[in-house]
């Protein structure tokens, strides 16, 4: 059914359709509308979930950990400092192989404190073992939650999923979207059935002390599972298409890249802006395109290699930093060509939109303009040089 919905409201609606037995979250801007919306649904008796009000994100993550360990589907959402505060628990959830669903309303990291959008929060959590999806628009946010639960709870996976949506841009933006119906969701997403759970009928020990004799294999197993996830996601999105009629590759999306000379690689809502610029430049005969990365973990190295190997010039747009080194997404796109003969002549790296600075169509055009034969590393777009001058008395 077509509905005009705010992004956060759309998330609450799709979460409801997924029927989590336990919800726990702690408020932080710009995730607040999600937790408030779910609390209201439970209060109104529309959603049969245990809503656990916690004193921190650390506990929110721990509550959903405990719930999924008991065999019940669970949901949480957070942002920025909250995601970092969960950090220790996130690694633990993945290590315990618990298919938790987490929505991350992407927001900058303090200091300086800033409530606006970039992707430093979730990008910094890239190593925690969660599968990470980045949505371009609200429709994709909704669909990635459904796809996410399916992937996470697949018996061959049993890993948590983080759906990343740009704060304010998507959480507070409004779009007309196709809201799935309960019958469709029930057809696509069966009730959660755990491989292992805390059950007095069949007692087991979860989270034991594991010494050097066994630890490596357990971590290796997660790494191997991530490789399986790469294969599984396109299969699940194909099933998604059959039920809902919307087609996603799931790992990446190509936009006018076929004969492109210059391509930007990016994640999240900025891809919408890039598509507009691509259309405008194409209309003027410029051979430009976009490669959108939907799945950041596991990182689709092979797909990126295949799609970019014949593109002469590639620009990677990061909305996050790895302070003291090259930009995180750029490093990984470069790594996709590790040991390969074919590769772009240029892979330049650009950083934009930190702390909510608008990435305008002009910002994107600037990136295309700077995508010359000269390779650029960590080139900041839209910096204000006048703010960089400081004198010490």
């Amino acid at each position: 059914m077509r509905e005009f919905l705010e992004g956060s409201q759309a998330v609450t609606r799709v979460v409801k359709l997924c029927k989590p037995g336990v919800i726990s979250a702690y408020p932080i801007t710009p995730q607040t509308h999600i937790v408030e919306g779910l609390a209201q649904m439970v209060a109104d008796g529309q959603l049969n979930s245990q809503f656990v009000n916690v004193e921190s994100e650390h506990s929110a993550a721990s509550v959903v950990l405990g719930a999924v360990a008991t065999g019940v589907r669970a949901y949480t959402a957070t942002s920025s400092q909250g995601l970092f505060y969960m950090g220790e628990v996130l690694f633990n959830i993945a290590g315990l192989r618990l298919p938790v669903m987490l929505t991350c309303a992407n927001r900058a990291i303090s200091a300086p404190i800033n409530i606006w959008n970039d992707q430093q929060d979730s990008v910094s959590m890239r190593d925690c073992g969660f599968i990470q999806f980045y949505a371009e628009d609200i429709q994709e946010v909704v669909d990635l939650h459904l796809i996410g639960y399916r992937v996470a709870e697949d018996k061959s996976v049993m890993l948590p999923v983080m759906v990343c949506m740009d704060g304010f841009i998507l959480t507070h933006g409004i779009e007309t979207i196709d809201m799935p119906q309960q019958e469709e969701v029930d057809k696509f997403l069966p009730p959660y059935s755990a491989l292992y759970k805390l059950d007095p009928e069949r007692p087991l020990t979860m989270g034991p002390l594991v010494d050097p004799e066994y630890y490596m294999e357990m971590r290796f197993a997660i790494q191997e599972t991530h490789k399986e996830v790469i294969k599984l996601i396109p299969q699940i999105t194909a099933q998604f298409f059959k039920v809902f009629g919307r087609q996603y590759h799931g790992l990446i999306e190509e936009y006018r890249t076929k004969d492109a000379q210059r391509v930007i690689v990016a994640m999240g809502s900025v891809c919408g802006t890039i598509k507009e610029v691509v259309d405008e430049l194409r209309a003027k005969g410029k051979k430009v395109g976009l490669l959108k990365i939907t799945t950041y973990r596991p990182f689709p190295h092979q797909e990126i290699y295949e799609r970019l190997k014949n593109i002469p010039r590639v620009a990677v747009l990061d909305k996050a930093l790895s302070l003291g080194s090259y930009a995180p997404l750029a490093v990984e796109v470069k790594a996709a060509f590790f040991g390969k003969k074919k590769q772009p002549q240029v892979i330049s790296s650009f950083v934009a939109g930190l702390g909510g600075r608008d990435i305008t169509k002009d910002s994107i055009k600037e990136i295309f303009r700077l995508l010359t034969a000269k390779e650029r590393a960590c080139e900041f777009i839209d910096l204000k040089p006048e703010l960089l001058k400081e004198t010490y008395e």
Partner: protein, 300 residues
């Protein structure tokens, strides 16, 4: 009972009070129990992969989140309609409870969740090498509150955890000791029969950290109670309902058993301060047995 709920063969030190306490707790709660355990000695010595002592479903996540993990378990059991048949226990050491896990524990209390929280109080961070915690007693020598020419050990008395628990208005709070196993098990059974959040703090001597003979674990525990340094108290709905009455013995009787207090033995001034802590407890909880009282555990 045909299922061992806490099997021997684990890697605890000889004379470990916590291993004794953990077995008493789980046997009192029974097989229909799910346990969430903080990081600490108990978790480490009872679950060295691929072995486990636990005959009940048991989960360890992190150092400070057992109360929150247990909250998720409890919520899931309610969702499944199974809460009435399963006890949920969250447990951890004094550090995981009174320090780093206090926030999660407070959240659990405040939500009124039907969980028993058990704190195994060995009065320091034993798992990481005997560093002080908020429950380390006054003047104890630990690796981060060492005695020296300018210090007589830990500078503050124990954090009043039972009172902090009570301040949340929860239905049941008690202290117990592995020196009094029947009393301990009675309290656990009572606690799990009450709906809502419960807190039991159990004094569990640690031969390694307290530097006492491993065979003396029970004696050390008993002596602490008898000196008035570990009052055994029981609250229902924040009202003190029972205490274990004692014929107070001088605190030296307790201190001299343990290397962690050795530096005090020629220091009457410091011993006096510790005696004052005991005297305060004896008065506050009316611990002293009167000639008319036969039974040592008295309702009040």
């Amino acid at each position: 009972m045909n299922r061992q709920l806490f099997a021997p063969g684990h890697t605890a030190c000889v004379g470990c009070g916590q291993s004794l306490g953990a077995r008493l707790v789980i046997e009192a709660s029974g097989p229909n129990t799910i346990v969430a355990n903080n990081t600490g000695c108990l978790e480490v010595f009872s679950t060295k992969y691929p072995e486990s002592s636990w005959g009940v479903p048991w989960i360890h996540s992190l150092f400070e989140n057992a109360a929150a993990v247990a909250s998720g378990i409890e919520a899931a059991l309610i969702y499944l309609g199974k809460k009435d048949t399963v006890n949920v226990i969250a447990q951890g050491g004094d550090g995981g409870t009174a320090d780093i896990g206090l926030q999660a524990l407070s959240g659990m209390f405040e939500r009124g969740q039907d969980i028993l929280y058990v704190c195994y109080d060995n009065e320091a961070y034993m798992n990481t090498g005997i560093q002080r915690s908020g429950l380390t007693p006054f003047d104890a020598n630990t690796t981060t509150s060492p005695a020296g020419s300018a210090s007589s050990g830990n500078i503050r008395p124990k954090k009043p955890m039972p009172e902090i628990a009570n301040a949340h208005g929860i239905p049941y709070v008690a202290t117990a000791s592995v020196g009094f196993p029947q009393d301990l098990q009675r309290k656990v059974k009572k606690a799990v029969s009450i709906k809502g959040p419960k807190y039991i703090q159990i004094h569990v001597p640690c031969p390694l950290g307290w530097r006492h003979e491993p065979v003396q674990t029970a004696q050390v525990a008993k002596t602490a109670v008898e000196a008035g340094l570990y009052p055994l108290v029981e609250y229902e709905n924040t009202r003190l309902i029972a205490v274990r009455k004692i014929k107070p013995s001088p605190v030296e009787e307790y201190l001299k058993l343990q290397g962690r207090f050795k530096h005090l033995l020629n220091n009457p001034e410091e011993i006096k301060k510790i005696q004052e802590i005991a005297n305060h407890n004896i008065e506050k909880y009316n611990l002293r047995v009167t000639s008319s009282e036969k039974n040592l555990s008295t309702e009040c």
